[in-house]
C-alpha cells in the first residue's frame, strides 16, 4: 500500500515508491496549505449541511467526513482539461474544480437537478444511480480517444477521464462493463475507488472476495492500493497515473483505503450495522489531523490553523444564510431540459400544469 505520511504525520518515501516521492518533491508550502485549507473547509461544510438537513432545510445529505484526504489529494491531481465523473459523495473533488458549494446544496434541497455546468467545470453531475457514472466515464473516454485527444504528446491537446466509484459500486455490473470497455479500447480512463468499507450497511467483505485494487486485472486494468487518508499519497498516485493515461497507456485503477465516519446518508443510522470500536479505529487515522501534524513538523504555526478554523465558521454561516434564502424554482424548470428542441407533448404538459396551478388559490 502506498503511504507517504504515517499516522503521526511523518513523511517518508519507501524506495519502491520513489517515483511518487518525486511528484511530492515538486510541491511547496503553498500547495500543502491549500490541501489542508480545503480539507478543513469541506469538513466544516459537511457538518453544516448535515445540521441543515436535520433542520428540514435539505431533503437529503450525503456526508463525506473521513474521506477528505482521498478527495482533495486526487482532485488537485486531475488536470485542467481532464473530465471527472463523480459518484454523489465527491464534495471534496468538486471544490478542487471550481464547483460552488451552494450548487451542491441546491441539488440536495431539490431546487434544481444538477446545479453546475459540467462543460465549464468538467466535473459532471452527481450520479444518484450508483455505478452508472463508470459507464458514462467509459463512454466519454472512448470518445476522447476517437477524437484524438490522447497520446499525441502535446499537453495542450491530451486529456484523461477519471471516475469516482465506491467499494459497493465495484460489485455492480456497470463497473465490470466499464472496466472491460475501457481496457479493450485502451481508453484514457482512471477508476478511482474510494473503499470506505461500507456500501450502506453491507461491509466490503460482502462485496468482494479479492482486494479491490486487483478488481481490474482480469479485464486488463492494472491497479494500486493507496492509503486514502494520506492526502499526499492520493495526490501523488493520481497525478502519476493520470499523466501516464494522458500519454495513451490505457486505463488504470486506484483503490484508496479510507473510511466513511458518518452515515451513508442522513437517511440511515450506522450504529445499527457497525461497531463503535471500528469507527474509533478509523478516527485515529483521520486525514486532517494527520496532515496538521505534518504541517506543524514543517514549522507552520497556530496562526494558520486558527485562521482556517475561523474561515470554516464564516463559511458555515454563509452557507446557512444562503440556504434559507434559496428561492423556490419556477415550475417551468421541470420541462426545460427534457428535450433539446421544442416538443408538442412537453408543451401540452406545461400548459396543463399552468392551468392547474392557476386554478388554485393563493398563487404567487
Amino acid at each position: 500500500m502506498l503511504q507517504l505520511l504515517d499516522q503521526e504525520g511523518q513523511y517518508e518515501v519507501p524506495s519502491k515508491y520513489s517515483q511518487y516521492g518525486e511528484i511530492i518533491d515538486q510541491l511547496g508550502e503553498a500547495d500543502y496549505k491549500k490541501f489542508y485549507r480545503d480539507m478543513a473547509r469541506i469538513r466544516r461544510f459537511d457538518e453544516e449541511a448535515t445540521a441543515l438537513q436535520r433542520q428540514g432545510q435539505l431533503g437529503l445529505w450525503v456526508p463525506a467526513i473521513g474521506q477528505e484526504g482521498a478527495q482533495i489529494g486526487s482532485g488537485y491531481a486531475v488536470g485542467n482539461k481532464d473530465h471527472i465523473f463523480p459518484s454523489y459523495r465527491e464534495h471534496g473533488v468538486a471544490i478542487t474544480h471550481g464547483v460552488e458549494l451552494m450548487s451542491i446544496l441546491k441539488m440536495m434541497r431539490g431546487v434544481n437537478h444538477g446545479g453546475w455546468d459540467p462543460n465549464e467545470t468538467r466535473f459532471h453531475h452527481y450520479a444518484i444511480v450508483l455505478a452508472s457514472q463508470a459507464l458514462h466515464a467509459a463512454g466519454y473516454a472512448m470518445g476522447v480517444k476517437f477524437d484524438g485527444l490522447v497520446g499525441t504528446g502535446d499537453p495542450e491537446n491530451d486529456l484523461a477521464v477519471i471516475t469516482y466509484i465506491g467499494d459497493g459500486a465495484t460489485a455492480e455490473g456497470d463497473v465490470s462493463e466499464a472496466l472491460l470497455f475501457a481496457a479493450v479500447n485502451e481508453s484514457p480512463l482512471m477508476f478511482f475507488v474510494q473503499n470506505n468499507q461500507w456500501a450502506i450497511s453491507s461491509n466490503v467483505e460482502t462485496t468482494t472476495k479479492v482486494p479491490l485494487f486487483t478488481r481490474g486485472l482480469g479485464f486488463g486494468v492494472p491497479g494500486i492500493r493507496i492509503d486514502g487518508n494520506d492526502v499526499l499519497a492520493s495526490y501523488a498516485a493520481t497525478k502519476l497515473h493520470m499523466d501516464e493515461i494522458r500519454t495513451g497507456k490505457g486505463p488504470f485503477l486506484i483503490e484508496a483505503l479510507t473510511y466513511r465516519i458518518g452515515a451513508h446518508t442522513t437517511s440511515d443510522d450506522p450504529s445499527k450495522y457497525r461497531q463503535s470500536e471500528e469507527v474509533e479505529f478509523w478516527k485515529a487515522k483521520d486525514p486532517i489531523i494527520r496532515f496538521e501534524k505534518f504541517l506543524r513538523r514543517q514549522g507552520i504555526g497556530d496562526d494558520f490553523f486558527e485562521q482556517v478554523t475561523q474561515d470554516g465558521e464564516d463559511l458555515a454561516k454563509e452557507i446557512r444564510e444562503s440556504t434559507f434564502a434559496l428561492p423556490d424554482p419556477p415550475m417551468e424548470n421541470i420541462f426545460e431540459n427534457v428535450y433539446t428542441d421544442p416538443h408538442p407533448l412537453v408543451d401540452a404538459q406545461r400548459q396543463w400544469l399552468q392551468d392547474y396551478e392557476s386554478s388554485l388559490e393563493d398563487n404567487e
Partner: protein, 438 residues
C-alpha cells in the same frame, strides 16, 4: 425585541411522516445556540439528534418525551433576541401574518397544519379551517363559520391536548376546562369524548356527494397492512370455534366486581379469558411458541398480547410474564395496557416479544371471527360477545349466557389435535372458572 421562533419537526429521512421524542437535552429557560443538539428523536428508521436552528432562550418545549409527533408539528419555541427574524422564511405565510410566531418554512411536502399556506381549488367553496378562512376574501365567508373557528382558537389548551381532541373529534370550544389556568386538560377531552360516544351511533351521517374518497396508506394503517399480509402469507392459518355457556364466568365477574379486594379495578370477562388462556397454555405449551425456519421455540412464559383499537388503528401491546401475575395484578395490567393504548402512548417495546394474543371482538357485539395471527406468534384467541341464548341443559332448553370462542393457529407448529385440546381447555374454564383453582 425578542421574537418567538418555533422549530417544526423535520423529515430526517426520506418520506418519514412522524417521530417520537426520546429525550430533551434542553429545558425551558436554557440558552441555546445554532446547531446545539436539543433533543433525540426516534423515527421508523433510526434514532437521531436534532440540532437547533435558532440562537436564544428556550421559551417552551411543545412536545413531551414519549410523544409521537407528525412531521411539521412545532416541537420547541425559542425566544430569539433582536428584531430580525433569525432566518428568512422563504414562503410567505399570508394566513398567519399577524401572529408573533415565526417558523422556518420546511421543504415541500412537510405538512404543517394550519401554519402552511392553503392551496385549495378555487371551486371548493367555503372552508372550515381558520387558516383557509383568513386566506379567502371575507365577503364569501358565512359569519358563523368565522365565529366557530375563532372560538376554537381562543380555547386555551396545550398542543398535545389539541391533537388528542382532534383525534377523538372533540370540539375544544364545547369542553368545560378544569385546568388551573382555565386550560382544557387531557381529562376534560377524554370526558367529552366519552360523552360524545354515547350518541355516536344515533345519527347516521348524510351520504357524501363525492363518489369515492382516497385515504393515503401510511403510518399505523400501513404497518397493520404489512403485518397482516406477512402473517397471512407466511403462516398457514387454521381456525376453530367453540360455543360455550359462559354463565358461571359472568357470575364470577360479578362477584369479583363486588369484592372489596377488587375495588377500583376494572373486572371484565376478558380478565377471566386471559386467565383461561394462561391456564390452557400450561397444559398445551406448543400454542405459546415461535416458528423459525430451523426450530420451534416453545416459551415457558406468557407475554400476553391484547389487541387494542386506538384512534390511530390496531395495535397489540402485551403484558410481559402475564403467567406470573395474580388475578388482581393481571386486572390492573390489562386496564393500564388499554389506557396507555387509548392515549396513544404505547412504547414500541410494549408491542414486541408477545407469545400469544387475545382479541376481544365481543365488545363490538360480534359473535366471533377468524383472527389473523400477530406476526411471530402461533396462536390467537377471539372472545365473542356474551349474550343470553337458548341452551340445552339436561335435555331442557334454558336461558344461558352464551359466547363463541374462536381461535387461529399456525399449522406449521400446531396440529388440529393440540389446537382443539387447547381451545376445549379455554372453553372449559369459561364454562367453569373454578378450574382455575387447579
Amino acid at each position: 425585541m425578542a421574537k418567538i421562533s418555533k422549530f417544526p419537526l423535520p423529515d430526517v429521512g426520506e418520506g418519514l411522516t412522524e417521530a417520537e421524542i426520546v429525550s430533551w437535552q434542553v429545558a425551558e429557560g436554557d440558552q441555546v445556540t445554532i446547531n446545539q443538539v436539543i433533543c433525540e428523536i426516534e423515527t421508523a428508521k433510526s434514532v437521531v439528534e436534532l440540532p437547533c436552528p435558532f440562537e436564544g432562550t428556550v421559551s417552551e418545549l411543545l412536545v413531551q418525551v414519549g410523544e409521537t409527533v407528525e412531521v411539521g408539528q412545532p416541537i420547541i419555541a425559542v425566544s430569539v433576541a433582536g428584531s430580525d427574524p433569525p432566518v428568512a422564511a422563504p414562503i410567505a405565510d399570508v394566513a398567519n401574518a399577524d401572529k408573533p410566531a415565526e417558523s422556518p418554512a420546511n421543504l415541500v411536502g412537510y405538512g404543517e397544519g394550519e401554519q402552511t399556506k392553503s392551496r385549495r381549488r378555487k371551486s371548493s367553496g367555503m372552508s372550515s379551517s381558520a387558516a383557509a378562512a383568513a386566506a379567502i376574501p371575507a365577503a364569501v365567508i358565512p359569519t358563523s363559520n368565522v365565529m366557530a373557528a375563532s372560538q376554537e382558537a381562543n380555547v386555551s389548551a396545550k398542543p398535545p391536548i389539541r391533537k388528542l381532541a382532534k383525534e377523538l373529534s372533540v370540539d375544544l370550544s364545547n369542553v368545560d376546562p378544569t385546568g388551573l389556568h382555565g386550560e382544557v386538560t387531557r381529562e376534560d377531552v377524554m370526558r367529552a369524548a366519552d360523552q360524545a360516544s354515547v350518541f355516536k351511533n344515533i345519527s347516521t351521517p348524510e351520504a357524501p356527494t363525492d363518489r369515492e374518497e382516497r385515504i393515503p396508506v401510511k403510518g399505523v394503517r400501513k404497518a397493520i397492512a404489512s403485518a397482516m399480509v406477512e402473517s397471512a402469507f407466511t403462516a398457514p392459518h387454521v381456525s376453530i370455534f367453540v360455543d360455550v355457556d359462559a354463565t358461571r364466568t359472568m357470575e364470577y365477574v360479578k362477584r369479583l366486581k363486588a369484592s372489596a379486594d377488587f375495588a377500583g379495578v376494572k373486572v371484565t370477562p376478558l380478565l377471566i379469558m386471559a386467565k383461561a388462556i394462561i391456564w390452557a397454555v400450561r397444559r398445551n405449551p406448543t400454542v405459546n411458541s415461535t416458528w423459525t425456519d430451523e426450530e420451534i421455540i416453545v416459551h415457558y412464559f406468557v407475554n400476553l398480547g391484547i389487541a387494542a383499537a386506538t384512534p390511530r388503528g390496531l395495535i397489540v401491546p402485551n403484558i410481559k410474564d402475564a403467567d406470573k401475575l395474580s388475578m388482581f395484578d393481571l386486572a390492573v395490567a390489562i386496564e393500564q395496557l388499554a389506557a396507555t393504548a387509548r392515549d396513544g402512548k404505547t412504547q414500541p417495546a410494549e408491542t414486541q416479544n408477545g407469545t400469544i394474543t387475545i382479541t376481544n371482538i365481543g365488545v363490538f357485539g360480534v359473535d366471533t371471527g377468524t383472527p389473523i395471527l400477530n406476526p411471530g406468534e402461533v396462536g390467537i384467541v377471539a372472545l365473542g360477545s356474551i349474550q343470553k341464548k337458548p341452551w340445552v341443559v339436561d335435555d331442557e332448553i334454558v336461558i344461558r349466557q352464551v359466547t363463541t370462542i374462536g381461535a387461529t393457529f399456525d399449522h406449521r407448529v400446531v396440529d388440529g389435535d393440540v389446537a382443539s385440546r387447547f381451545l376445549a381447555d379455554v372453553a372449559s374454564v369459561i364454562q367453569e372458572p373454578a378450574l382455575l383453582l387447579d
